[in-house]
């Protein structure tokens, strides 16, 4: 029987993620482009994922769009919220995970996953950017670091600095004043991670934590932030191999399952 390819595209506020799945299980290709909805990001992510998979769009038998810009992707066969896609995605990697914490560019969410991999309930951050990827972007800029360098700096921290402001703008000036006091940058980075972790752990506690817990989203690539979250929750947190494309992965699985039902 010929291989069946499905595609999941997660169009976020700051990045577009596309993943191609073969026969519902094998990842044939994926791409993460640092440009989200309203940009060329979605299109580029599709092209790149296709080229990585070595196939053309005509070979794709079903597409699910998810994420903030899901309604703008006209090629989609299904439109599903990122909450459901994240639940499906993490269940495929860790079938026993019951709580997923996802920190994206402009939102953070805690998701309860059912034993069958369905979205059972969720809570999301309120209008404040604290505790999201955007918060880390702003702080990294102030520290003249790239976000990818944050984890390494965190690992070298000795005395975690307390960042007391939750407001991104207040925290920014707090970090600036610490910098001018010659506080060690690594300690500051660890403090910033703790600030994000406290906020996110609060969100997860509101939902109610059922173990095992996993973390996804771009911020999960940052081991410093992930460790801080583990410390705040007091329990281990699992990270899937491709945390940033967990939503796109779930979307591709959704497309596969729905095509299968139709056949």
């Amino acid at each position: 029987m010929a291989d069946v390819y499905t595609m999941g595209i997660d169009i976020g506020s700051t990045a577009s993620k596309c993943l191609i799945l073969k026969n519902g299980t094998d990842i044939s290709g994926y791409a993460v482009i640092g440009a989200g909805t309203g940009t060329s990001g979605p299109k580029r992510s599709v092209e790149q994922a296709l080229s990585n998979a070595g196939i053309t769009i005509n070979e794709i038998s079903g597409i699910t769009a998810t994420g903030y810009g899901r309604n703008t992707f006209s090629e989609a066969d299904w439109i599903v919220s990122e909450l459901s896609c994240h639940a499906i995605g993490i269940h495929a990697v860790f079938p026993d995970v019951r709580t997923l914490i996802d920190i994206g560019g402009q939102d953070a969410k805690a998701i309860r996953v059912s034993t069958t991999g369905k979205l059972e309930n969720f809570v999301m951050n309120d209008k404040c950017a604290a505790g999201t990827g955007r918060f880390l972007d702003v702080m990294a800029r102030v520290l003249e670091l790239d976000v990818s360098e944050l984890a390494e700096r965190d690992a070298m921290a000795e005395n975690v600095v307390n960042i007391s402001s939750t407001c991104t703008v207040f925290a920014e000036s707090e970090v600036i004043s610490q910098l001018s006091n010659n506080v060690n940058i690594c300690d500051l980075v660890a403090g910033i991670h703790r600030s994000v972790a406290v906020r996110t752990a609060g969100l997860a506690k509101r939902l109610g934590i059922v173990e095992p817990v996993a973390m996804s989203g771009g911020v999960a690539l940052n081991s410093g932030a992930a460790r801080a979250l583990e410390r705040e929750l007091g329990i281990p947190v699992r990270i899937p191999p491709l945390p940033q494309i967990n939503g796109a992965y779930g979307a591709a699985i959704y497309a596969w399952e729905h095509r299968k039902q139709e056949r």
């Binding site: 990122e82 909450l83 369905k118 979205l119 999301m124 209008k127 509101r206």
Partner: protein
């Protein structure tokens, strides 16, 4: 009941009645009568029985918000120095008090103020501020927060003493006298209105609900301010009859199939009413439970019970009782999920909202979402965030329905 009322749908009758009440206040003002600005949960029995015209800044705030003037008025008030954290109804009112004009809606200027803090305590400062700025008397009925389940004798006596004193002061200010017989008949009419309102909203328990739940947000204005009048009682009875007839036929004014039923917690987002409604309606979600249903009826048999009734309004209650009202309403009206409006204006309502949502979810086992918004300040709402939450809620409700079918 006049013929013209019988012919028109109750919804129109209620809207006309609301306009008429507003019009009467303008006419009274022109005649030189004293007019008051009044808090929405102030005992309307007093003013109705005494024939004192009052208007409601909160209703104006809602109307201005719905008609698109919220941002302009709020920004004006902020320019005057009022904090953006204040309730948007108060900001709109402060702007109006200063500008003395508002293209979306105007109300006659007051000669006195009637405040009642059973709705919230922010209101006291709002009205004190107006009293100072306008140099007019402020009459306050202080209703202690009900931290127990029932309103005891001491509380009733405390409220009653203020009630009597308020009447005395109003007699002095307006020159009008309280007629106790008239008060008795207003109380009776208010009971009639309240019972009819309860009967009308009670049909939300039918499947499908005979009406689109968002209609409550429009109809409740009269339930709140005009329930002491015969016209209101008749209009609500007509509304209840209309719903009864629709329910008997299994029909509804809700557009489309009612696939899901939800509880909506909080004040509507007036400035985004259409959007917040459409996002639900197009997905087959009807609102079939809201605290405005059961809680905005004031049932009492005598004056003491009337005092107690004003202590039982939702915002004045202990958390456990408030939670119970919502849980019972949700179960009775068979909802599939709940939407909680984190209303940034209303400190009372948003203050306990996360806990309310958590406990509601725990007790009912139903999925819930929270969205950020504001009743009349459009700047605190994001369409995309609302949409994402609603969509995910639908996905959960859909899964739950599939499970029910399998079971």
């Amino acid at each position: 009941m006049s013929d013209s009322i019988e012919k028109k749908p109750a919804k129109i009758v209620l809207r006309e009645l609301q306009n008429k009440i507003a019009e009467e206040a303008w006419e009274a003002k022109k005649r030189g009568e004293k007019v008051g600005w009044c808090a929405s949960n102030f005992p309307q029995e007093i003013t109705t029985a005494m024939g004192i015209p009052v208007v409601y800044p909160e209703n104006m705030g809602a109307a201005v918000g719905a008609k698109g003037g919220g941002q302009r008025m709020c920004e004006y008030a902020e320019g005057m120095g009022y904090s953006g954290d204040l309730c948007s109804y108060s900001r709109i009112n402060f702007a109006y008090a200063d500008l003395k004009k508002c293209e979306e809606m105007e109300i006659p200027f007051p000669d006195f103020l009637l405040c009642c803090n059973n709705i919230c305590n922010c209101m006291i400062k709002w009205y004190e501020n107006l009293a100072l700025e306008m140099n007019i008397p402020l009459l306050l009925i202080d209703i202690p927060h009900l931290d127990e389940r029932t309103c005891d004798e001491d509380r009733i006596r405390y409220i009653r003493a203020q009630f009597d004193d308020c009447i005395r002061q109003l007699e002095e200010i307006t020159g009008k006298k309280m007629d106790l017989e008239k008060l008795k008949s207003v109380m009776e009419v208010s009971q009639r209105s309240s019972r009819a309102w309860l009967r009308a909203v009670g049909y939300m328990a039918s499947t499908p609900s005979p009406f689109s739940g968002f209609d409550i947000f429009n109809n409740m204005a009269v339930a709140n301010v005009g329930r002491g009048t015969i016209e209101a009682a008749e209009a609500f009875e007509q509304l209840a009859d209309e719903y009864e007839a629709l329910a008997a036929k299994g029909e509804s004014t809700f557009k489309g199939e009612e696939k899901y039923r939800i509880l909506f917690e909080g004040i509507a987002c007036w400035a985004h009413l259409k959007y917040t409604y459409k996002a639900l309606q197009t997905r087959g979600i009807n609102l079939t439970a809201t605290i405005y249903g059961p809680a905005f009826s004031f049932l009492y048999g005598n004056l003491d019970e009337l005092m107690a009734a004003y202590a039982y309004v939702p915002n004045s209650n202990c958390f456990e009782r408030e939670l119970e009202l919502r849980v019972n309403d949700a179960l009775k009206n068979k909802v599939d999920g709940a939407i909680f409006h984190m209303n940034r204006s209303c400190k009372h309502w948003s203050g306990n909202l996360y806990e309310m949502e958590r406990r509601f979810r725990e007790q009912t086992g139903l999925p819930t979402i929270v969205f950020d918004g504001d009743q009349s300040d459009p700047r605190c709402f994001s369409e995309a965030q609302y949409e994402t939450r609603v969509e995910a809620l639908v996905e959960i409700m859909e899964e739950n329905k599939k499970k029910e079918v399998k079971a």
